[in-house]
């Protein structure tokens, strides 16, 4: 897909939440070293994001996608692992570098109805990020960014208040506000789920264009696989804090490997009265991230459960740009021989290993 270095990359990223809340409990767990198991919201996630590319992160509520996003933007310190931005680890950032990072990595939130200060005009909403980052607030810049998000003619919008805009227009202003500081990465958290379908498509098209034309890397986080597959070149599926499968979109749709991905795809309704869809078969609910079963997180609900699933599988390269965290899809002996390294040698395992999945 891309040969350039990723603009943003995570390496073994973990974000665990402690469960001890009262000071007494915290003290006790410090003294005894025990205490409750942490909640593993994000557990050992390796992802790479490239410029000019839209990558999707999908999963159901509680899968950790929002915690991942909040950790990426620096709202939480990772429990373990590292985030690399433009090749540099963010853990080494000083406050000035963080400031610059926050200019170059921006977020679009889910709810455009609450994203903008109702007392601000569009002009003020757009100039605020500029002044925070010490950039020029000339009129041309405002016009330009409004045109890029298709709010034309710009002069009609600059002096409007939030209440005078429709839902789709609000989301466009929210996007313009992030674009105006010329970022490298946009994290989009369910950016269209609150909008009507007729407006959704327009916003999706716009994100697609922006990624292609402005060297942006867009990370699109959503539970809605239909929209994800419509705009993303690559999709990462999360289940309970883990990435369970990553693949180019087309590959993932045509040949999902992880049982969870397969069932997730089956659950999507098809707009065709004569299409006879096999319904998904995932009994029960996602288990509590507090007391996760040992082994594979998905085993309790998995239609393909095996004995080996009590052992945690690894996220294994099963094909070109395709990684799957499921025992069904790699050869265990081959993996055990070289369990220590996971880089290029993994491809070799594939060659000699379970070739049936190619």
């Amino acid at each position: 897909m891309t040969t350039t270095d990723p603009i943003l990359r995570t390496d073994g990223l973990k974000k665990h939440y402690k469960q001890s809340t009262t000071p007494l409990e915290v003290l006790r767990s410090k003294l005894t070293g025990g205490g409750k198991e942490p909640i593993k919201a994000v557990d050992d996630v390796d992802l790479s994001f490239h410029e000019n590319e839209i990558s999707g992160v999908i999963g159901e509520s509680g899968c950790g996608k929002t915690t991942l996003l909040e950790t990426l933007i620096g709202l939480h310190d990772p429990t373990a692992g590292e985030i690399y931005f433009d090749g540099r680890p963010t853990s080494e950032f000083g406050s000035e570098e963080w400031h610059e990072y926050r200019r170059r990595v921006r977020i679009i939130f889910q709810n455009p109805y609450e994203a903008m200060n109702p007392k601000f005009t569009v002009r003020r909403a757009l100039t605020e990020p500029l002044s925070i980052h010490g950039l020029d607030t000339d009129e041309e810049r405002l016009y330009d960014v409004l045109e890029r998000v298709n709010l034309t003619p710009p002069e009609q919008y600059l002096d409007k208040y939030e209440g005078q805009l429709s839902g789709g227009e609000k989301q466009r202003v929210a996007i313009a506000r992030e674009l105006i500081v010329d970022p490298d990465v946009i994290l989009a958290d369910e950016p269209v789920s609150m909008l009507d379908v007729s407006t959704q498509v327009a916003i999706l098209h716009m994100l697609k264009e922006l990624a292609a034309e402005d060297d942006l890397s867009v990370i699109y986080i959503s539970h809605d696989i239909s929209t994800v597959s419509y705009i993303c070149e690559e999709v990462n599926v999360m289940y309970l804090g883990n990435v369970v499968e990553s693949a180019p979109t087309r590959k993932l749709l045509d040949d999902p490997e992880h049982p969870y991905t397969r069932e997730l795809l089956r659950a999507i309704p098809i707009p065709d009265p004569d299409h006879d869809r096999t319904r998904s078969n995932v009994p029960g609910n996602p288990p509590d991230p507090v007391n996760l079963p040992s082994g594979c997180n998905f085993k309790e609900r998995c239609p393909d459960r095996m004995e080996i699933c009590d052992v945690e599988p690894v996220l294994f390269p099963t094909g070109e740009e395709h990684r799957t965290k499921c025992h069904l899809h790699y050869d265990h002996e081959q993996h055990a021989d070289a369990a220590v390294d996971d880089g290029p040698t993994a491809a070799e395992h594939r060659a000699v290993g379970d070739g049936g999945n190619q």
Binding site: E60, G168, S226, D272, D274, H275, R277
Partner: protein
């Protein structure tokens, strides 16, 4: 032909506000037969939830049916008092699964107690009969009967939704109205709830009016459908009528805005503009401002719902419906021209 279970005819609903009246529903008509699953689709603000509320007499205090009729088994019910609705319609004959219905359960009352309360208010059933019925329904919606005595919080979101469905079916109604029954659920949970709704259809003789913005769900789960825009019915008919032979521009375009996971490369359409907010009398097609094929006549009068030639059960409110085949085929070219103008 026997008479429909529910018939909405020429319905007008208005909300009075401090700044004047709002026409939420204008001249809407559709009908649901016994055992039929009917989908009501449209964007936010199109009037679909308002119609649902009016059917069980649950309009907000400032809303009223200003003209037209709602007939349940032939009897006009739109002018019933609240007591009459309570006594004769709600729960027993028509029950409603509201939006975000998991919040509609009483959090401090066990499920079986809530069922017994319902039966006591609306029927003369014995406790035993109610419990037997609840057990049967728990089975149909895939909940273990030994959880009938649990509190709502002990169930997950998807399970709470199924509890609400079981309660809605408790008093053997003929019609359930489900307002966005799965919007708050993840896709796998949604699929489960829909599977149970289909079980119900096989096991119990009940009709469903499903209100949703998701046209895919309607095509999969319903027999017939009504598409609404700006308070008007754009088109109504069997799901196959609307899918294979859509006659109203809005239903044609709406279908093209929905992604189909089978064809990720298919280009999706945008419908320009937003639905109008309608004050005063509505005397135009409310889709005219967003319609690529609007003519001056579209703004002169509210279009009547007319049957499609040769198919009286398939109605639409577009005065150009007979040319739609041709116009929609030209649409691609039309879109290119508009792009150039941008």
């Amino acid at each position: 032909m026997s008479e429909p279970l529910l018939e909405v005819e020429d319905l007008h609903i208005r909300y009075e506000t401090e700044t004047g009246g709002i026409a939420a529903v204008t001249d809407a008509s559709f009908a649901i037969d016994d055992g039929e699953y009917h989908g009501l689709v449209g964007e936010s603000g199109c009037g679909k939830s308002t119609i649902a509320k009016s059917i069980i007499g649950g309009l907000d205090a400032n809303g009223r049916v200003s003209a037209g009729t709602i007939r349940y088994r032939g009897e006009e019910i739109q002018d019933f008092t609240d007591d009459e609705y309570s006594e004769r319609i709600r729960w027993k004959n028509i029950s409603m699964i509201p939006q975000a219905s998991m919040n509609s359960l009483d959090p401090v009352m066990r499920i079986h107690k809530q069922a017994l309360d319902l039966a006591e208010v609306h029927t003369d059933w014995s406790e035993e009969k109610t419990m037997d019925r609840l057990e049967e329904l728990f089975d149909i919606v895939g909940l273990p009967p030994d959880r009938m005595r649990d509190y709502p919080h002990q169930f997950s979101g998807g399970m709470q939704q199924r509890v609400v469905i079981a309660l809605a079916l408790l008093l053997e109604p003929d019609l359930i109205i489900a307002d966005e029954p799965t919007t708050a659920l993840d896709v796998i949970m949604q699929d489960q709830v829909m599977a149970y709704l289909q079980n119900i259809k096989e096991d119990i003789d009940v009709s469903l009016l499903m209100i949703t913005h998701d046209i895919s769900l309607v095509f999969e789960e319903c027999d017939s459908m009504t598409v609404m825009h700006g308070g008007q019915v754009a088109e109504s008919g069997s799901i196959r009528d609307v899918f294979y032979d859509p006659r109203h521009p809005y239903s044609i375009l709406l279908q093209k805005t929905f992604p189909d996971i089978r064809y990720p490369d298919q280009e999706l359409t945008t419908i320009e503009g937003t639905p109008p907010i309608l004050s005063g009398e509505v005397s135009e097609c409310t889709f005219a401002d967003r319609c690529p094929w609007a003519k001056p006549e579209c703004r002169e009068d509210a279009p009547p719902l007319e049957p499609t030639e040769g198919n009286p059960a398939h109605v639409n409110s577009c005065i150009r419906s007979h040319e739609m085949d041709q116009l929609a085929a030209e649409e691609t070219r039309h879109a290119e021209v508009t792009d150039d103008n941008d």
